[in-house]
Symmetry: D2
Subunit: 140 residues, 4 copies
Amino acid sequence: MAVVMDQAALTAFLARDFAQVAEDFTVTRVEEDLLEVRLNVEARHLRPGGTVSGPSMFALADVAMYLAILARLGPVALAVTTNCSIDFMRKPAAGRALVAQARVLKLGRVLAVGDVLIWSEGETAPVARAGLTYSIPPAQ
Amino acid sequence: MAVVMDQAALTAFLARDFAQVAEDFTVTRVEEDLLEVRLNVEARHLRPGGTVSGPSMFALADVAMYLAILARLGPVALAVTTNCSIDFMRKPAAGRALVAQARVLKLGRVLAVGDVLIWSEGETAPVARAGLTYSIPPAQ
Amino acid sequence: MAVVMDQAALTAFLARDFAQVAEDFTVTRVEEDLLEVRLNVEARHLRPGGTVSGPSMFALADVAMYLAILARLGPVALAVTTNCSIDFMRKPAAGRALVAQARVLKLGRVLAVGDVLIWSEGETAPVARAGLTYSIPPAQ
Amino acid sequence: MAVVMDQAALTAFLARDFAQVAEDFTVTRVEEDLLEVRLNVEARHLRPGGTVSGPSMFALADVAMYLAILARLGPVALAVTTNCSIDFMRKPAAGRALVAQARVLKLGRVLAVGDVLIWSEGETAPVARAGLTYSIPPAQ
């Protein structure tokens, strides 16, 4: 699947249309089969004990898949998450950023499906995995 | 399943152990088969367009199930979410609080499983549903 | 949501269009908010130890939601399962039928979403729960 | 993670302990990071129209993850599926076998988590994906 928005275009899109959360995320790789996003962990993402909260990992998985779809559909898309099944497998390392890699497995007329793996930066064992489905709005 | 922490005890627990998010949530009902929590929607929970974000709905489902488990196990539990499968079905009404109802379907030795329905306050059609699994730590 | 196919109509539909599995299932209740199906357990549904297999429980959840959607849409529908998240919570009782209750939570233009609970007949603690999404084909 | 049961050992295990379904499946690859199983499609796996049924794809995903866990734990394990979230993305090609590839992402003391991709043999676009969790029984 060809990429129609690159790292710079996706970063500008986030800053303009999702200003509230744009500083949380850094798009680090955009390839045909893979999109990588970094969660720049701040105090507001943490649970007692200093590890990243579940909702913050969910948000990271969700934005990674959203950007992976946009990279292929372009900025006109108003794709909406319809399902996410997320497994929390290990406690994230304290004081580390998280890195998510998303791949799109299906980009259909009405649904897009993909999965995401999340790691603490610099670790090899994943902390979470998710499968996500997005609904694609009809072309105008 | 008998309730061992009531509305006041759960509210105090949230305020003490989850101070960072405690003001987001109000425990509104604690019964044998049902726990209800309200998300007090603020600007930080919204997406462009004024509707509650997916991560905020995930956070609400997660805290509702967590409190439903604690209500039965008591405050010593350090239960951890291991899986959440959430369906986003309708756009929440703008400018409305969200209400989640959680029920525990299994409270086992190592795993607790339940589900959650979420509505915009005052509406009857649910905006989201989730199934969640928590890992229960071994008794000390 | 009004019911447009009743118990007899759904049973005839299964027999005609799903002859291969029709004898596995008995439609036992069709109401506005609830559809109930029974899995008539045979040797082919069992795992070593005599309990019903995971795939048989999946099949039961899937058919229950399918029939609950058809009950509202009528027999023209070619709805297709797009996602199922199923939790296996307890071992089914040996030598017992399983009963599934399905409810439709959303019946949209392109997607239908609902959930299913499954019990061993005569028991009160559920053995499995599932959330399912079906894709609804465009009207002809 | 080291492999302690190879292709021959897993095949013999299936034939002995799951005689009822053993002929449905052929273990085709067992590597450190990947286990591959083939569903030998027969009439009983098909839906009207000649494509493989959802329950048959679920069964394939489930057995692939089960064998991937056994390959690492050995034949003593009585692992039990606790959750499966499966996305059906494309209709399988008629008259083709299905191939599943499973990878174990976490092998913990009480839970194992992994994911599975399924293709029609000879095709490149996956027909289904699943995330699965197994409960690992305490060592005797």
